[in-house]
Symmetry: C2
Subunit: 149 residues, 2 copies
């Protein structure tokens, strides 16, 4: 896959500067964690992550996921299974949504037509303003059974 290495370096650069801006260090452990998530290309649970890179310590991964979520670099996804899923945040991956398999718990990224996307966003903005609600982001998931289940 040509281009992959470059893309990963770009991601590391971007994340490094975001962390620096908040007086956090971009350590080897954090870099490895980000690499695992970037290479997976789909949301991962903690077991997924430490399986992919067994050198990572569970407690450090949990702590670093938290740091990176608070830095806006990683996004937390609560899909209802035993484990929370994590993926790179939208500034890095772009806005998108998910197919969630209610059998195996797997999650896959999907992209809506921008026309539909804008309509949804407009509708939600209208509704929110009517309730005095301040919107931050929306989530749209399709729940069902994946091809394997």
């Amino acid at each position: 896959m040509p281009g992959d290495t470059d893309h990963l370096s770009e991601i590391h650069l971007e994340i490094g500067s975001r962390l620096a801006r908040q007086d956090h260090r971009y350590t080897t452990g954090r870099r490895h964690l980000v690499s695992v998530l970037a290479q997976a290309g789909q949301p991962m649970t903690l077991p997924d992550i430490v399986t992919a890179d067994p050198d990572l310590a569970q407690s450090s991964v949990y702590r670093n996921l938290d740091v990176l979520v608070r830095s806006g670099v990683i996004r937390r996804i609560s899909a209802g299974g035993d484990h929370t899923h994590f993926e790179l945040a939208e500034p890095l991956l772009g806005h998108h949504h998910h197919l969630i398999c209610i059998s195996c718990g797997g999650i896959e990224d999907i992209h809506l037509d921008s026309e539909v996307e804008m309509l949804v966003d407009q509708s939600l903005t209208d509704i929110a303003s009517r309730s005095g609600f301040t919107p931050i982001h929306h989530s749209l998931d399709l729940h069902g059974h994946c091809a394997d289940c």
Copy 2:
């Protein structure tokens, strides 16, 4: 509020027959649980439920929520807070979506224009069929800060 009593009886009737169909009993505890959820008019957590009706035993509420979810009468909502939320299922409440407050964890029901709703559903159906995914239902949430936070 005229009509409320009737509406609640209808709900109990409907749920009773659904449970009977699956060889479950509609006991007093289950009836009380359903009444609490029906009267709240918004998704509730377990603490919300046992606070609203302190006669309900925690372990029984958890068990009955599970039975009722499996019977298609109650819907489980994983919003990312400490506690899972529960509400009456869509056959009883109608299809709708949620405003989720990331400060206090509160959830409020919202309804989209049916035009937008149909577009979203069509888009998701198309995407799903392309991946061999079998859709069951979608969820669309707006995350942000509620009027109180």
